[in-house]
Amino acid sequence: MGSRVEILNDGGYRSDGRRQFELRDIAIDLSRHGQADGSAMYTQGLTEVLVTVFGPREAKLRSQTIHNRANINVEVNIAAFSTGERRKRSRGDKRILELGAAIKSTFEPVIQTHLYPRSQIDIFVQVLQQDGGLLSAAINATTLALITAGIPLFDYVCAVSSGVHSTHAMLDLTTLEENDVPHLTVAVMPRTGKITLVTLETRLHSDRFEEVFRIACEAGKVLHEEMRNAIKARTSALARAMGEGHPAGAPSNREGDEDFEMGDD
């Protein structure tokens, strides 16, 4: 480890003061966003992603229609100011295309596309800030945006990144940690425990994989609880506004500014 920063110090704390299995603060904002059918702003630590969903609607191009199910179109845009180093990425950037393709393949088995033949569901991912866990934040935000758009899903998709420092597994890595330790992103459907996505871009010892993978699956279930609370709060605020005289929840419904800690076994 030729790193100047200590990834995990002797006291068991990470560089930002978290424990091994501690997730960063999560904030979810589900207020309506312009003309979008559904939208979600998801913040996890310093990573911030805004996802807007349009549809199901008529496909813009006839060639994109599929006769027996809906087509899912994912477009990712990473703001030039989202990283420490200002960097403009073009839309055709391979990295961005890969991110979009990963999100698309994660959601294809989860969205009930067969209910909407010849339609298209557009998912626009806007990355506002990034500090590690970009793919997992984008997936969580997309799940929330799809639910607010009223699009039928088999289940939530909850994603989290996890890595391993020598023999210690860690959850929810920051950019600093991602640069130093092998890490993977896991997206889990919490009800059945099915996995819709696992990506590993670094080299990880096969003996360590199982532990890291298992801990990420568990963390996904914790995230699920938080996402569900945000959705329920939003849904009941709207239901109440429709049913009674109360004004609906004010435009911003920030929920769940809480820390979580997973027991260090």
Partner: protein
């Protein structure tokens, strides 16, 4: 969450909120409806919304979603494409609706066969971008809806502006055409598109010989005076404010809200710019709201 079969918990069920992946009940005893799916003998919700039960049928109604058409619904739409013998219409649904040339009123008599010349001059009836009011006539095999404008009430829209709201806020009513006392006509499309326009006198609308193609397919706005323009803008802003606060809309609510705004002497733009005015408006109409 379990749906109890024995108690008459119709009301308690109504307010139950669920979200995707949550088990509602056993599929042995109940039937699955919209917004649910069955896995391992369980009925599971697939959308976030309120759980509703009709006898043995369990459905989940999402609060924000696209328009789900039914035959007979009144919709407001916008032409997106002129195709062979049909128009494509954006009606806030999951696919563009279809308006066949054979389901519009053609000039020179309400009932006549369409001719080749009609096909060639389709753009003189409706062009891309035109707004129209129509009724859902039928569905195609893939779920797309077919519209018709074969009534004097339906056709091209002029003299006003379009406001879009979530479709769930428009309730099915006896009539969706309203004339407000402030000289504004209102068409509440069930797809969440609302047309707010200058009032047109009934006899002008009908025409004496039944059908005046020139007037029905005209692209020219009538003369609209400043007072009417202000009234149209005020009604539109009232609708926007109420929709932002998720208040179900009907004519009594809108009349009440309009009168309240005039009484309080707020300007048209105060409604959108000042949040305190918007909140006060929503509480002011709370009494006039329809029962759900």
């Amino acid at each position: 969450m379990e749906v109890d079969d024995t108690d008459g918990g119709e009301t308690s069920l109504r307010s139950k909120i669920t979200s995707p992946g949550e088990s509602l009940t056993s599929s042995q005893a109940f039937m699955r409806g919209h917004g649910t799916y069955v896995e391992d003998d369980e009925v599971i919700a697939s959308v976030a919304g309120t759980v509703e039960r009709v006898n043995k049928l369990i459905t989940v109604r999402p609060l924000q979603t696209r328009y789900n058409p039914e035959v007979g619904d009144l919709v407001v739409g916008r032409i997106t494409e002129v195709a062979a013998r049909r128009w494509k219409v954006d009606a806030n649904s999951r696919q563009d609706a279809v308006l066949m040339l054979s389901s519009v009123n053609l000039p020179g008599g309400v009932q006549r066969r369409k001719l080749e010349s009609d096909e060639l001059q389709m753009r003189t009836f409706f062009e891309e971008g035109d707004l129209l009011v129509a009724e859902v006539q039928a569905f195609f095999a893939d779920g797309a809806m077919s519209l018709h404008t074969r009534s004097l009430k339906y056709g091209k829209l002029r003299n006003g502006q379009l406001v879009t709201v979530p479709p769930i806020l428009i309730l099915r009513l006896k009539s969706h055409f309203y004339s407000l006392p402030c000289g504004v006509d209102l068409i509440l499309g069930l797809n969440g598109y609302i047309w707010v326009s200058k009032h047109v006198k009934d006899n002008e609308q009908e025409g004496e010989e039944g059908f005046d193609a020139e007037a029905v397919y005209s692209n020219q706005n009538d003369e609209i005076d400043d007072a009417t323009r202000a009234a149209v803008a005020r009604v539109s802003n009232v609708i926007r404010v109420l929709a932002a606060h998720f208040v179900p809309l009907n004519d009594t609510v809108l009349v009440e809200a309009y009168e309240w705004v005039v009484e309080q002497e707020y300007t048209v733009k105060d409604l959108l710019l000042r949040e305190d005015v918007a909140d006060a408006l929503v509480s002011a109409v709370a009494t006039a709201r329809p029962d759900l």
